[in-house]
Amino acid sequence: MENNKSLGKQIWKNRWNYLFLAPTIILFTMFTIYPVIASWVISFYNWNGMEPLNDFVGASNFIKVATDPGFWKAFKNSFIYMLGVVPIQLSLSLIAAIFLNNPKLKGSTVYRTLLFLPVVTTTAVVGIIMAFIFGTYNGVINELLLATRLIKQPVNWLGSANTAMAIIITVGIWKTFGYNLIYWLAGLQSIPGELYEAAKVDGASSRQQFRYITVPLLKPIAIIIILLAIIGSLNVFDLVKVMTGGGPAYATDVVATYIYRYAFSTEKGIPRLGFASAAGVFYGVTTMLIAIIQGALMKNANRERADYQL
C-alpha cells in the first residue's frame, strides 16, 4: 500500500509530477500569491515606491480612502456604469440569443459572428475610435443627428457631464454584448428539444413555453452570467481611461481610474502607492461581499421557486 510508504519515498516516486508542476508553482507564487499578499501589506504603509517600505501607518490609508469624497464619487460611478450596462446588455443579448437559437433561421452563424466581433478587439483602441465617432465636430453621430434635424447644434457628447457616462455605458454594452450572447446561446442549447416538442403537443403557446421551460431551466446558468457581467463591469478601466480619462470634472471617474491616478499618474504629484493599494483592497472586499450576497440571494430565490413548483 502506498500509504505505508514514507513521505520521502512517495515524493521520490512522484518526482516527475513535482518537476512538471514546479514551473507553475514557482511562477504562481511569484506573480499571483506574492502580489495579492503584498498589495494587502502595502496598504498599511505610507509609500511612494522609491524609498524602502518602512513607514507603517496602520489603518490610516483606509480611513483616508473611506473619507475621500473623490473615492465615493468614483465608487458611485462604477456602480452607475454596472447598473447601466448589465440589465440592458443581458436582456438584449437574451432576446437576440432566442432568435438566433432558432435552427430554421438561415444565416444565424453570420449574425452571431458579427455581433461577437467587438469582443475580440482591443478595448483601448475601440474606445478611441468611439471617441471619434461621438466627437463633437465631424463625429458620425452628430453628423447623422444634424442631417436628420434631430439636433440643431453639435453635441459635445463626451465633454459634458450629463452625457459622457451614458455614452461610455452605450459603448460598454456594445463591446461585451457578444460574451453574453454566446453564454445565453450555450444555455439555450443545453435545454433538451423534446421538452418543447412535448409542450407543443400539449398545446402550449410560445410565450408559455418560454415562461415554463426556458426561464426555469436557464436559471442556474443565468446566475453565473449575471455574476460575471457584474464583476466585469465593476472593474471597467480601459474604456473609461481612453474615452474620457474620468472626466469631465470626474463625472465618469470609476474606481479603477481613480486608483490609477494616485498610483501612476503625475497629475496628483508623488505616487501614493499605500493609499492606492488601500483603495484597491477596500474596493475588492466590497465588490466581493456584494457578489456573495447577490449569489446567496439568487440561490435562495431559486430554492423558494423550486419548493413552490413542487
Binding site: 512522484n14 514551473p23 495579492v36 503584498a38 475580440v120 478587439t121 458620425v140 478601466f237 492606492a276
Partner: protein, 277 residues
C-alpha cells in the same frame, strides 16, 4: 413553411441585418477613414467610402508614428505569452488531472482561494518584483507580468481534459518503456488538442488586447509600447490627425479580426465552454 412564418423570417432577417450593420459600423468607419485624405475627412458628411484609396496614412502611422515597433512588440508579447501559458497550464494540468501525490490538494486549494480572494492593487508589487528581477526595461517584464500569474482557468481546463483519458493508454506506453515526459508529449498532449486551441485563443485575446499591464510597464519607455498603449499615446500627441489615427487603429485591430474570422468557431466554442463547465 406557411406564409406567415416566412413573413416573420423575413422581418427577423431585416432587423438583424440592420443591427449587424450598426454593430460593425465603427470598424467599417475605421477602415475606410484610414484611406481618406485629411481634407476629405474634415469636409465632413456621412460618406463612408473614400473618394479613392490612398495608403499614405498607413505609411505615416507605420513609419513615423512608430506603429511598426508597437506592432512587433505586440506580436512578440502575444506569441511568447501564448507559448508560456500553454507550457504552464498543460504540464500542471497533466499532473493534477492524472496523478495523486502529497500536496496536490493543498495546491489546488490555494489556486481556488487565490481565484476568489479580493486582489487589491497587485500591479504595484508585480512592478516591484519585475524591477528586482532587472526586467523593467524589456518586453520580458511585460510578458511575465501578463502571464506569470498562471491562467488558473487554463489549468482547470487541461486538468479536466487529461483526467478523462483512459488509464490503459499510458499503461501500455509504460510497458513499452516510454518515459514520463515522452508519454506526456507524444501520447497525452495530442489527445487534448481542442483544449490547446481554447486556451491559446483565450491567451491570444487577452495578451493582444491587454492595455493596463503594458500601460504601467511602458510609462516613459516608448520603445516597449504595445499597440493599445501606442494608440493611447498617439491621440495624446497627434490629437488632430484623425486619418492617421484611423490607420493606426486599423493596424492594431485588423490582425486580430482576421484571426477571429478564420477561427471564429473555436473562439465561440471556447467562450461557450467556459460558462458551461
Amino acid at each position: 413553411m406557411n406564409k406567415q412564418s416566412r413573413y416573420y423570417e423575413k422581418i427577423t432577417h431585416i432587423i438583424f441585418t440592420i443591427i449587424c450593420f450598426a454593430w460593425v459600423y465603427p470598424f467599417l468607419w475605421m477602415v475606410f477613414t484610414s484611406f481618406k485624405t485629411e481634407e476629405e475627412m474634415f469636409a465632413g458628411g456621412l460618406h463612408l467610402l473614400p473618394s479613392h484609396f490612398n495608403f499614405g496614412n498607413f505609411i505615416r502611422a507605420w513609419e513615423q508614428a512608430n506603429f511598426s515597433i508597437y506592432f512587433w512588440n505586440t506580436v512578440i508579447v502575444t506569441v511568447v505569452g501564448v507559448l508560456i501559458t500553454i507550457f504552464l497550464t498543460s504540464t500542471s494540468g497533466y499532473t493534477l488531472g492524472r496523478y495523486n501525490f502529497p500536496g496536490k490538494k493543498f495546491f489546488i486549494g490555494t489556486v481556488m482561494v487565490m481565484m476568489f480572494m479580493p486582489k487589491g492593487y497587485t500591479i504595484i508589487p508585480t512592478f516591484e518584483l519585475i524591477r528586482q528581477l532587472g526586467l523593467l526595461d524589456s518586453l520580458a517584464g511585460v510578458i511575465l507580468a501578463q502571464v506569470g500569474g498562471v491562467n488558473a482557468m487554463g489549468v482547470l481546463l487541461f486538468m479536466g481534459a487529461f483526467s478523462q483519458i483512459p488509464k490503459e493508454l499510458e499503461e501500455v506506453a509504460k510497458l513499452d518503456g516510454a518515459s514520463y515526459p515522452r508519454i506526456f508529449w507524444q501520447i497525452m498532449l495530442p489527445m487534448v488538442k481542442p483544449i490547446i486551441a481554447t486556451v491559446s485563443i483565450f491567451q491570444f485575446m487577452s495578451s493582444w488586447n491587454d492595455f493596463f499591464t503594458p500601460l504601467v510597464f511602458t510609462l516613459g519607455k516608448p520603445n516597449l509600447r504595445t499597440l493599445g498603449v501606442g494608440m493611447y499615446s498617439f491621440i495624446g500627441e497627434h490629437s488632430t490627425d484623425w486619418v492617421g489615427m484611423a490607420a493606426a487603429a486599423s493596424i492594431s485591430l485588423i490582425p486580430i479580426i482576421i484571426v477571429y474570422m478564420c477561427l471564429q468557431r473555436y473562439f465561440i466554442e471556447g467562450i461557450a465552454g467556459a460558462v458551461k463547465g
